[in-house]
Point group: C3
Chain length 279, copies 3
């Protein structure tokens, strides 16, 4: 499988898909092409949440590239049976790190479903895999303003054809020791709660923080920036239009409104601090 | 074939597609993921219009789910060779009912094209099929806020692998006698016209009513809420910017503007009453 | 491969895909379904930029059709191993013309990659291919307001199954000598620059003109409508928020802003004249 993701909107991604087809008949899965324009951090968050669900082996091609045409490098990371192709700006690094963990398989909660021989987990490697890095060598890196079509998609397709395990043999890949990292801000744990930050606002208006969801364990109310809100495990647990604090599918504390936009109700946006307190 | 539909926007549907791939290599067709948020009725209308064109056998997975995480059930309906997987809120019931009818095949108007051995029809069953229902058993239904990825997509994939005819043998399906129905409002026929309602406004701004199109047979003008409009069989029959009343591809009376938005010109929105009169 | 493109938004294109599947298991590539509504020229531009990257043989189905239901014809054009199916309004003619040229393959700039036996080019035909035209015969052309699903998609699928080389044998195709042309306006070259026009504004806000990019060769500044701007080969060559003139992936002069919207900064829209001067 080859996944494609970008902030290109439409119709540029179709040219990326066509470019893949010049080299490979592999399955193409579009992750998203409407990431906020040139917002590497938000795209990196979503790639971390989605890419690990792709069954291995998989090649992931992601392009959010404010530095296109400059001298920024292009990288190919390898984690076990996954390869991640992107500009060297940190875009796929959180996803690469997440791919080192074992994750529950989708569907493992269905009665009687044991989705994998080694027990309900995907992205599974016996030992946490290292992240190996390669630089993508381009003859004339500044020759185009559309590296998605001309560099990243063909490189991903060629790596898919060669096989993730054989990336060393690709003519256009050079092993490198370093690549640009991207770390999400870490919340500060306190005895009476945590100081966190809004990482992303999703399309429903849910404000997704960087605070791990287990902070809410066993609580039915919590204070956010001084105001108390109900804690619930699903949106419909409160009346339509009411706010709540919950744990999203990403495992983080999320500020939400049942059938409304949490970011508006909690008056927060991406990058804002949030003080979460037990009382 | 497995179809996916939701109101999830982006990038959540990519995780549903990846979840399908954990269990099945089947073809995936995305119907839409931009249904109006948590608007079950509008989504149910579109699913009814689109799903019957998918060649059988097919499994359809649709998620518009205001009650996610509450104790609402999840259902799998079967109509002939089609299975429909959804929250038990009526979302796929109009589509299931439509699948019991014989429909003209796309392309049957092309000269010399006889698309099916039994004559230009699809979704064909010798006798109108019953709607059979199963409940989807989930070990811990409240464990996730993302049932699209963790429940519905894997259930649909597993049903596809097992075969629609063998749903009885799926470990996570229990036959049930009842499921939540969803009926579109029925227009009131009158001697001088009909009293109907706007069901949906599409992306072009066309206001689609619940009034059957044959009401317009043989007429060249009709009154809507007291104003007379031309009746035409295509938009370009009137000047650019002019309003008209026509029959849409769904077979219902539609209020439209050539290259404009009918809902604005006729001053109607979803759920509004419309009085259609012959004179 | 069969490509689909339209201005239908959602969910109508899913019915087109389902209609294709009634006749063919071919791969479907969605080019775009969010072209500006009924804007044939903008869609024609993007189709010209994207379709040639699809590996041959390919059938392309495009529907932007302000005249649906009127007596406008439906056409199928053939250029080498590509077929283009569309309303007879010029929509696919620029793409057909472009398909007669040899183009660099995506990926040919990757080190060590020689993508094709005859040297780094795609859409390659030994001699520029003629454009051959067929009219699509429909039994009752006015029978539907959704020709995308009922005429164009099935016709494309049936042509794909028959083979582009055998279009003559399709029951619903009649050879014709003429079809509606669509020409983009031609810039006027001058000794001191060129007088051009904005063809398209893309989703990033870049204003794409009809002026060939080689006008900028060897220049580091240029005047647009009287104001001087830096010329650069990539957006990040200027500070964030600053304007620049560059050559886009389409090869034309483009008015842009690094991480901003060029159309706003240069105060131009689709169809506006732009006077480009060397000094």
């Amino acid at each position: 499988m080859l996944t494609l993701a970008s902030d290109f909107g439409s119709p540029y991604p179709a040219a990326m898909r066509a470019a893949v087809r010049q080299y490979s008949d592999c399955e193409i899965l579009d992750v998203a092409h409407d990431f906020p324009r040139q917002d590497v951090r938000t795209a990196a968050f979503w790639l971390r949440e989605v890419l690990p669900y792709a069954p291995a082996p998989a090649v992931h091609c992601a392009v959010v590239d404010p530095g296109v045409g400059s001298d920024r490098a292009a990288v190919a990371l390898r984690v076990g049976e996954h390869a991640l192709i992107a500009p060297d700006n940190g875009l796929v690094v959180p996803a690469a790190r997440r791919l080192r963990e074992r994750m529950p398989a989708a569907g493992s909660g269905l009665r009687g479903v044991d989705p994998s021989p080694d027990g309900d987990e995907i992205s599974a490697v016996a030992e946490p895999a290292a992240i190996e890095a390669f630089e993508i060598a381009v003859d004339d890196p500044a020759s185009s303003t559309f590296h998605g079509r001309d560099v990243f998609a063909p490189a991903a397709a060629l790596i898919h054809e060669r096989g993730v395990a054989s990336m060393e043999t690709c003519s256009f890949l050079d092993p490198v020791d370093e690549f640009v990292d991207l770390q999400f801000p870490v919340p500060i744990e306190r005895g009476d709660g945590a100081d966190g930050e809004v990482l992303v606002v999703d399309g429903f208006g849910n404000a997704i923080t960087n605070v791990p969801g287990d902070l809410l364990d066993g609580r039915d109310r919590i204070r956010v920036d001084g105001t108390a809100w109900p804690v619930a495990d699903h949106y419909a647990a409160v009346d339509v239009g009411d706010g709540l604090v919950t744990v999203g599918s990403h495992g983080n504390v999320e500020l939400a409104v049942n059938r409304g936009r949490g970011a508006d109700r909690f008056e927060v946006g991406v990058g804002d601090d949030v003080a979460i307190r037990f009382s």
